[in-house]
């Protein structure tokens, strides 16, 4: 075969457009971490990684009947275009949902989005020029950081503790940003059962945070996908309930109904809302009528509040299993948060242990988590790991923590032998 070689004068780069991509696409490359997550999706792996809701707990037969009925009776509407602001009937029902967190809104104030992720994208699109500052919690939701990065925002993290965002740290971040001659465009916060840390902004801190932002002229983006999934007591009062002009509220049915429907929403002051609608039009023309009407019918015909209660009980049991397993098994140098709702525990590893470098060993040991580095814009946070308890059963959670403990113990020995690890890309 060597005799058949035909010299090719030009080098082959496989991608003929390699020199033409935008600067923001530079980081879009294959990565070891994503390769490892491809393995984590296999059932042999106990995945404590992805933050997926346990949709199997839904009354799937009833939902199936409801969807069939929807197509039979309203198919011409459900399968047609709609307005970019979203179905009016759904927006009315969203107002009912938000009342549970004491937000009073008019349907006209609501923009339906493709999950709250699209609301994040649209907000970033209308507010952020490259290099603009966004304040976020430390750590912060990886999906938000991805949206911010895609618009080349400069993300500044603000410290949290077990009571959520620390007001003094927020003031200091605002002051430092101003001292650098810059102004932050907005504060992005997940106040309830935060992703990834699992902590909740204490009621006593909420007025203070709003006051600090009001005085600084800083818009608050309140992302609240987990607010109705608290394990104790009534839902917290939303930030939006106390400052309709200063807060854009992002909601989602991904955790309370079904993530696959991709229905979320934003409630925003008038001027912002108008821009969001225009931005949504240019992005997707309109959202899925079918998904919107499915959610509307679900809210109209199914016992959705009872279902959320069922979800809460299920997640409470799994949270209990995870906290119990951590307490029984983890080495004494590890510590972790104790979420009062939502999906996540934030694990702090022993000094010198790098969660990103440890991931291949964890996958080989058939347990997966998300390294803390994904939740910091600058890639720090290697000493942390996000553990999600929403999807695996309590038995699997126990087994996953057992495997993870063994991995950490091996890693501690390697640290003692070699020093700190070098993370994978």
């Amino acid at each position: 075969m060597t005799g058949e070689q035909q010299p090719i004068s030009q080098p082959q780069r496989i991608d003929r457009y390699v020199g033409q991509y935008a600067e923001r696409a530079v980081g879009m490359v294959a990565s070891e971490i994503r390769a490892l997550f491809a393995v984590a999706a296999r059932p042999e792996i106990v995945s404590l990684a992805g933050g997926s809701p346990y949709v199997s707990a839904l009354p799937l037969d009833a939902v199936g009947d409801m969807v069939g009925q929807l197509v039979a009776t309203q198919g011409a509407t459900a399968l047609q275009y709609c307005t970019a602001q979203g179905d009016a009937g759904l927006r009315e029902r969203i107002c009912d949902v938000m009342e549970l967190e004491q937000v009073r809104a008019h349907p006209d104030e609501i923009v339906v989005t493709v999950g709250s992720q699209q609301a994040l994208d649209l907000l970033t699109r209308i507010f952020i020029d490259p290099g603009d500052v966004i304040l976020v919690e430390a750590p912060s939701y990886v999906g938000a950081l991805g949206a911010f990065a895609s618009y080349q925002a400069d993300v500044v993290h603000v410290a949290m503790d077990d009571d959520g965002l620390i007001p003094e740290a927020l003031e200091e971040a605002i002051r430092r940003t101003a001292a650098a001659g810059r102004k932050a465009k907005f504060l992005y916060t997940v106040p309830n059962f935060q992703n990834p840390a699992g902590v909740t902004l204490a009621a006593g801190r909420r007025p203070r945070i709003l006051d600090i932002c009001r005085r600084a002229g800083l818009l608050v983006v309140e992302d609240n996908p987990y607010g109705l999934l608290g394990f104790d007591g009534e839902p917290m009062r939303a930030l939006r309930a106390d400052d309709a002009d200063g807060v854009v509220y992002l909601g989602s049915f991904s955790k309370t109904i079904a993530a696959g429907l991709r229905v979320g929403w934003a409630v925003a002051p008038t001027a912002i809302r108008e821009k969001l609608i225009l931005a949504a039009e240019s992005a997707v023309l309109c959202h899925s009528s079918f998904s919107q009407l499915t959610v509307r019918e679900y809210l109209n015909t199914q016992p959705w509040l009872e279902q959320i209660k069922d979800f809460r009980e299920l997640y409470r049991e799994r949270r209990h299993a995870m906290l119990g397993a951590l307490a029984r098994m983890m080495p004494p140098e590890c510590h972790w948060t104790h979420p009062g709702g939502g999906f996540f525990v934030w694990l702090t590893l022993p000094d010198g242990i790098n969660s990103k470098a440890m991931l291949p060993r964890a996958i080989s040991s058939r347990v997966a988590y998300v390294p803390g580095t994904g939740f910091y814009a600058d890639g720090s946070g290697a000493q942390y790991a996000r553990l999600c308890y929403s999807l695996p059963t309590p038995d699997r959670i126990n087994e996953g923590i057992r495997r993870l403990t063994s991995v950490i113990e091996t890693e501690v020995q390697l640290r003692d032998d070699f020093g700190p690890a070098r993370p994978v890309s």
């Binding site: 070689q5 035909q6 080098p11 490359v29 490892l36 070699f418 690890a421």
Partner: protein, 317 residues
């Protein structure tokens, strides 16, 4: 071609190369479809045995990389089932997949391969990592290249320029396996030579020269289209290219490999090709070198896969 009524492409597995393998498997399936052969892609999971038993395939095309795919395990199982498959038998895979073993056999056959040591994690722990590392540097010198003794796609692998970098590199290696192969880093041109045997004995395909961007030929460089430049044939003299081809065929032969393999080499500044490792289930993705070399030599990828399957089917289990 009429014998290939039912073809199964194996892809996936549980190694860190799962994603690459799935891409390889899809590409093989699609190439077969273009060549007129319908194939299904199956994972190496709990459903596989039932699938292969229920309707035994004419032949299997293994495209699983890493553990299970390249260590011989899945081929042992195919052998137990009596299912014909493309590629090397399990015992040959076991030798080739273990890089120190492959290097030792290559060296015994007279092929140049960088001097190296192979050490398990426990040795560093028991004898003291710092002392062992000092010994390695004193004996092998610098620069070095560290990689897991088993595995691929450069996962856990990296170059070491100073002694201070070695502990972290060995640690990164141990994230992917419990034994490290530490070899002298040979500076030069990185090339890959694929070998295909379509029934007339092993033939080397054109040498592919790999020119990665900044950061070397790491995982991202391997699987991000555009991050690496490939020259086919490599910009080598005819003599050096012929020597690289000879080494690839020799490695294929000495390790007892069958049907196809890919040998990775470095050609140093003096024009000497150094054997690094051999792959029994080479990548078949859009950025992999074996399909590139096939196309460059006028052998359509799909048609070659069909020929390999026909040979396997004719050979039987």
């Amino acid at each position: 071609m009429s014998d290939l009524e039912r073809i199964v492409v194996l892809a996936g597995g549980l190694s860190p190369e799962r994603e690459v393998s799935l891409r390889s498997g899809d590409r093989v399936r699609d190439a077969l479809a273009e060549a007129g052969i319908h194939a299904i892609v199956a994972d190496a999971d709990a459903a596989l045995l039932a699938l292969l038993r229920a309707d035994p395939p004419s032949a299997v095309f293994p495209a699983i990389h890493g553990v299970c795919g390249e260590d011989g395990a899945i081929r042992e199982v195919l052998g137990l089932l009596g299912v014909p498959y493309v590629g090397s038998v399990a015992s040959a895979c076991q030798m080739a997949f273990d890089k120190p073993t492959a290097k030792a056999l290559a060296a015994a056959a007279g092929l140049a391969t960088p001097q190296s040591v192979t050490l398990p994690r426990e040795t560093f722990h028991d004898l003291g990592a710092a002392a062992v590392i000092d010994l390695i540097v004193a004996r092998l010198g610098l620069p070095l290249y560290v990689k897991p003794s088993r595995g691929g796609s450069a996962l856990g692998a990296g170059a070491v320029r100073t002694a201070a970098e070695l502990p972290a590199a060995v640690l990164s290696c141990f994230a992917y396996g419990d034994t490290a192969l530490i070899e002298r880093l040979v500076a030069g041109t990185e090339v890959a030579v694929s070998v295909v045997d379509l029934g007339q004995g092993p033939q080397a395909l054109p040498v592919v020269e790999i020119v990665p961007g900044e950061g070397g030929y790491d995982y991202a460089a391997r699987y991000t289209a555009g991050k690496t430049e490939f020259y086919v044939p490599a910009r080598l003299s005819a003599e050096v290219a012929a020597e690289a081809a000879r080494i690839a065929i020799a490695a294929h032969t000495v390790l007892g490999l069958r049907d196809l393999s890919r040998t990775d080499l470095i050609v140093d500044e003096a024009g000497t090709p150094w054997f690094l490792e051999v792959n029994v289930s080479p990548g078949m993705t859009e950025t992999s070198t074996l399909p590139l070399a096939l196309e460059a030599s006028g052998h359509p990828f799909g048609r070659t896969c069909v020929q390999l399957l026909e040979l396997a089917a004719a050979r039987g289990a």
